[in-house]
Amino acid sequence: MVDLQKLHEAILNGDAKTAAAVAQAALAQNMPAIELIQKAMIPAMDEVGRRFACQDYFVPELLLSARAMKAALEPLRPLLAASGAQPAGKVVIGTVKGDLHDIGKNLVAALLEGGGFEVIDLGVDVAPEKFVETVQKTNANIVCLSALLTVTMLSMKTTIEGLRAAGLRERVKVLVGGAPVTRQFAEEIGADGYGENASVAVALARTCAKLATGG
């Protein structure tokens, strides 16, 4: 019998090789993929988020854990798709137009992916139209906008306005974050949430996804 604790620890320790091997072994023993995710993998990423929040983990540790999570998810994906299991939510994420900083955005994307979300990462310097177009195409239900520069923060507002003009605003939750962004600013531009760090952003995305599905 595969020890799920081992999978949990492999993700916590950022050990991608072991995480993937344990997941494979569990599947070989006909353990349901969803059980691996719910009992070991999501709790591990929750613990990673907690350690990040209390400054026990920092950016490198978080990236390694996210990579281990991804490695463990790989062999599960075909089974999840075949079983009709849905991702926790579909997120379009990017650094807004005029801004090229991506460390924070990458962290949030990695944690979201680790948290069971389908993530469409548009990269940096993303125009409002690109966000709109991608939401239309993918039917995403969450948009995450990142900015590091005070001069590019306003592009978040333009993007929200773009979603509204395209008739998509009611369909998606918009979360914003980045060094100069504040809760007050998020409220002023009509965002649905403000993540002061990566783990808060993921918690917010989960709440949004639950609200969307009535879960």
Binding site: Y57, F58, P60, E61, L63, R67, N106, L149, T152, P180
Partner: protein, 403 residues
Amino acid sequence: MEPRKLPERVARPSSIDSERQPPTGGAVVSITAEPKWSEHIRRWDAFWSLEDIGRPLWMIPTSPVLTAATTGLVPIPQLLQDKEAQLNAQLGILAWRETADLGDDFVPHLQPQGGVTVFASAFGCKVDFFKHTLPWAHPVIGENDAPETVYELAPPAVDAGQLGDMLAFTDYYVAQTAGRYPVALTDLQGPLDTAYLVWESKAFMEAMYTNPKEVHHLMRLVTDLIIRYVKEQRARSPEFIPCHYPPLWIPDGRGISISDDCLAVIGPKLYREFCLPYVNELSEEFGGVMVHSCGNFVHQFDNLARIHALRGINFGASETPFEAVWHRFAGKTAIIPHLGLNKDIPFEGNREYLRHVLRTATDNRGLCVVVTPEELGPQAANPATLARLVEQVKEAFADRARG
């Protein structure tokens, strides 16, 4: 652990002074010889020696190039790539600043500026310039490249990439102004900050765990380049200010400034292994370091205390709590706060920030308060904005004097 003491000043190599050319025509005298500015410099000398000069130092950091960029006087790409445009913009700002006579402790100087990318570009990183912000370097080691790719990097020439421009700008400034203004160090992102521009940041941080040898290899290359470049720029500058930001006066030989924003991003263990040894090398070479970091780096205080001859710490008081820095480092090193980009610790503007800093700091020694306009864009350098700022500083100082 206390910061290790270095000699008060590391000697400037005598060969530099003996090779220095006299200013053309012999009529131009450096501004540092003028009584007003030599008085300023005396204050900075006392500041770095942690002496009490009766008040903290303070500064509105009109880094000449950045001010020109903020005010839109010259398009940023041109400003950073055209030495004539950059010099004219700086001279214009300096002249304006002198007329405005803000009363702060800024010492006029020139600075060759190419953005945070200058050292990374020497490794072959392609640099993109933008109209609205500072340049961006594309890593030469990508996310999916093998970590061993790092061994393919040759040690860059001291004038490779933008560094060559920065040296050419330095020569041009000295020649055009006949050495009237001191020249400050170009933007120096520290060893780790530069390394994760050269090697895609996510992959680099993962490699700290998976490929430490390769990470150290790059750190070695970057540190060697920094040392060679600083010596080269210094040799070309009759008066060299080894400080890139904020635009403080650091006497040559009493350390260099480095941006070490990785402090906030990584944990203490990784910093100790991958950064501290290289920062200490820079410190030994140049007589100390003044560290700048954005973000909250309280968790790195023990590591900062391990830096040999830590001359000063520059940080955002809205990111790292001022009182924490003060209680740990006051009397041991210079403390240079500003209002940071991140507003984790909210201040209702400069008035509250100044009051907080000046009330927390129980003496003047080693304190320099950096005050930046709250407004963005052209109004940042508007005379009325700056007059209001100066007034706020005066009020805060008076408030402190009243106790």
